[in-house]
């Protein structure tokens, strides 16, 4: 936050705030994208989506714990402070792939967790849709909100039971730890815009995932059918297409998107059991600002609000409007809802009861 300390916002400070907003904006965009996918396909407002983000983060925790599962070996050559032979923890992985390879794998546990998280999250998503949400299509929206809210509490408490209430630090691979001088790359004075590597990685990753989801919907037959179903579910069903099955898969996909967003977020913020709820409230705000049911709107609003939040945290702004960084998103959401009720890019007829 070096830029923020200047009394007058400079170009450097401006760019710094934009890049600062990108990582949080990426998380918002990914969660909001999943929320919108579920809402657009199944018409359900999923209050448990934050919990899916959180479970994704704990997939990373689980995998790194599995990888570092160790046995105790007594090392005769060294002694501990009492003079007894030293005991060292040796991961089982050393025996399986060798010490060097194992160290690399453990170091890269977080990115590797993506591979682990995708199938897990897909399964969880499909299970939730088939087991629970399917029975709520015909019920009132209030019931859908309530049942997913209850589910969110349950998932959160389960994680708390198994992993405890404290945040679990999960570091990024060595290569991406620390920061680099982003400003110097753009031709500004050195040491003005310092940016952590991992946040840039996160942004790039989010861009790839978002691009992937859009390409999937745009360029595959499956995606085309899903989009048709989003526009008019009944007609697609009458054409003899099993749209329910595809929508279930979309729920799994949305869960996977939230999950990998959670996996990659672990080095930025150590995962704890209530991180999902913290993000969920804001993600709703994002979806509402972007426009219920609009995928592009959700992504745009995610980045926009992330950057806006980061601007509101500048001390130049805080001097004028103290505390604005805490409430800026809510204020924006309220203004947007009252002036453009459909949000920035909302479609007509969505949720207008």
């Amino acid at each position: 936050m070096r830029g923020g300390s200047f009394g007058v916002p400079t170009m450097e400070a401006f760019i710094l705030q934009i890049v600062n907003g990108l990582d949080k904006g990426s998380a918002y965009a990914l969660i909001a994208l999943g929320l919108t996918l579920i809402f657009g396909t199944l018409g359900v407002v999923n209050f448990a989506h934050g919990a899916l983000f959180m479970i994704g983060a704990f997939c990373a925790v689980t995998l790194s714990r599995l990888l570092t599962a160790s046995k105790t070996v007594i090392d005769e050559t060294k002694t501990d402070f009492l003079g007894n032979p030293a005991k060292t923890e040796v991961p089982y992985l050393y025996d399986i792939v060798g010490v060097d390879a194992a160290n690399v794998i453990i170091d890269w546990a977080v990115p590797l967790s993506i591979l682990f998280a995708i199938p897990v999250m897909m399964l969880i998503g499909v299970a939730i849709e088939r087991g629970l949400i399917r029975h709520f299509y015909k019920r009132a929206h209030a019931d859908q909100i309530l049942v997913t809210f209850g589910l969110a509490i349950v998932l959160q408490e389960l994680i708390k039971y198994f992993y405890g209430a404290n945040p679990i630090p999960t570091p990024a691979p060595d290569a991406f730890r620390g920061s680099f001088d982003f400003g110097a790359m753009l031709g500004f004075d050195p040491n003005v815009i310092i940016y952590p590597y991992w946040r840039l990685v996160y942004f790039g990753f989010a861009a790839v995932v978002i691009g992937g989801v859009f390409a999937f919907l745009r360029f595959t037959t499956f995606g085309m059918v899903v989009r048709a179903g989003m526009a008019d579910r009944e007609t697609v069903g009458l054409l003899g297409i099993n749209i329910d099955k595809r929508f279930t898969i979309m729920f799994g996909l949305a869960a996977a998107v939230a999950g990998v967003a959670g996996v990659m977020y672990t080095p930025i913020n150590s995962p704890n059991y209530h991180m999902g709820m913290d993000f969920l409230v804001l993600s709703f705000v994002v979806v509402v600002v972007g426009g219920m049911g609009s995928l592009v709107g959700a992504v745009l609003a995610g980045f926009l609000l992330g950057i806006l939040e980061s601007f509101a945290s500048m001390s130049a702004v805080l001097d004028v409007l103290p505390g604005i960084n805490q409430i800026i998103l809510y204020v924006v959401a309220i203004i947007i809802l009252l002036t453009r009720p459909r949000g920035l890019m909302g479609r007509a007829g969505v949720m207008e009861d």
Binding site: V45, L132, H135, R139, A140, H141, A142, D143, I145, L146, V147, F149, G150, L151, A152, I153, V154, Q156, E157, L158, Y161, M277, V281, F284, V285, V288, M292, P322, G323, Q326, I327, Y330, V331, A333, I334, L337, L338, P341, M351, D353
Partner: protein
């Protein structure tokens, strides 16, 4: 009598009897028995029963009648708490100004929030109220610290001005009272192995809850209440008949906000402290749970829901591993460990897990809450078909009929 028909009068009398004899009813086990931990008849918990009962009754006037699901009602409870604590700091430790101001402040606050939020309906309304509540919470935690005390919250201090009370006697600490009758004072009645506690604060809160309940009955039975049900059943049709629903929903919103303010003021009257966590959105979620669990749209359901949740919260979170082991000690060794291990996640610190599961079960299987469950059980035993005017007068399916 009192403008009620006989059924409602019975209901009111039932509530009066339940609250008046709560110290007996909630203490069914002798103090020394191993079941004494299930006694709920201690002042702190009984106060919470009735205070959250008020909160839930008010929430039900909005959600049960109009169907507008607010996820931000804790903000009004919090606002009421802050108003009450300031009265205690500035004016007097007497609870009357504190509670009065808390109702007024919460009413004004809910008027402002309702005026904006009610421009949208459905899910948007829920999100708007949630956004307002979270905003209030964030503000109370950060910028408004001079008014709200931030993280530490507010308590009456000895150094506060309190212009209506004289200076405190040396060594005395400020205690909330009603004309000298201290909220925390109680009378203990020992009968055989039983000890029953009659607490001043509880009875004051209970009287206010009975009044709140009476007002709620009158609202439910009034033409105004009928209008609110019409909003729930078909807002479009109401619009086509030339009625603007906005003043009605706004009035319901403000009334429920004032109920929340009363509850917030009473919380302060009982424990003399206010903090931002009362505004957190989980607190808003809790009142939704109470209302749904008891039965949204029914008169007595929310009170039962509030009582049940607060009771379980206090009792279940007290159960720890030792207690569990004691319970299942009659089982063979291995089985005992297995059962304890299975039950353990759901008790003690795992109370929220139980709450979440219970909530899901109710929403899935009993959308009408406990009241629907009771009437279903009632139907099992009585052959004659129930008419919609019976028992669960509000529960979803009968509401459209009432509206037409």
């Amino acid at each position: 009598m009192l403008g009620l028909n006989s059924r409602d009068l019975q209901l009111l009398l039932l509530v009066i009897a339940l609250t008046a004899f709560a110290p007996f009813l909630l203490n069914p086990f002798p103090v020394d028995s191993s079941l004494a931990q299930f006694n709920g008849g201690y002042p702190d918990l009984m106060q919470r029963f009735v205070i959250f009962g008020i909160f839930a009754i008010g929430f039900n006037i909005l959600f049960g009648l109009t169907g507008y699901l607010s996820f931000g009602h804790a903000a009004f409870l919090g606002a009421g708490s802050y108003a009450a604590i300031w009265m205690m700091k500035l004016l007097t430790m007497n609870i009357i100004p504190a509670v009065t101001l808390s109702i007024i402040v919460a009413g004004l606050f809910s008027l402002a929030v309702g005026y904006i939020s009610l421009r949208r309906s459905g899910i948007y309304f829920s999100i708007l109220t949630l956004a307002f509540a979270q905003m209030s919470y964030s503000l109370a935690y950060s910028v408004l610290t001079p008014i709200t005390g931030g993280e530490t919250g507010l308590q009456p201090k000895i150094s506060d001005p309190r212009i209506l009370d004289g200076p405190l006697a040396a060594g005395a600490s400020p205690r909330a009272s009603l004309f000298g009758l201290e909220m925390s004072s109680s009378y203990e009645l020992a009968l055989g192995g039983w000890v029953f506690t009659f607490n001043v604060g509880y009875y004051i809160a209970a009287i206010l809850m009975v009044i709140s309940f009476y007002v709620a009955i009158r609202i439910f039975r009034s033409p105004f209440g009928l209008m609110l049900r019409a909003v729930k059943s078909n807002q479009n049709r109401l619009g086509y008949t030339g009625v603007s629903s906005k003043p009605y929903t706004l009035a319901a919103f403000v009334i429920s906000g004032m109920y929340a303010g009363l509850a917030g003021g009473l919380l302060v009257a009982m424990d003399s402290q206010a903090g931002a966590e009362r505004m957190f959105w989980t607190a808003s979620g809790e009142v939704v749970l109470m209302t749904i669990l008891g039965g949204a749209g029914t008169l007595i359901g929310p009170v039962l829901g509030a009582g049940l949740i607060k009771y379980l919260e206090n009792i279940i979170s007290k159960i720890n591993e030792t207690v569990l082991t004691g319970w299942f000690s009659w089982m063979p060794e291995g089985l005992q460990d297995a059962v304890v291990a299975m039950v353990y996640p759901f008790v003690g610190k795992g109370w929220h897990l139980t709450l979440g599961l219970m909530f899901m079960m109710v929403v899935i299987f009993l959308p009408g809450g406990l009241m629907e469950g009771l009437s279903r059980i009632g139907n099992l035993f009585s052959r004659k078909p129930k008419t919609s005017t019976d028992a669960d007068d509000g529960a979803a399916n009968s509401a459209p009929k009432a509206a037409e």
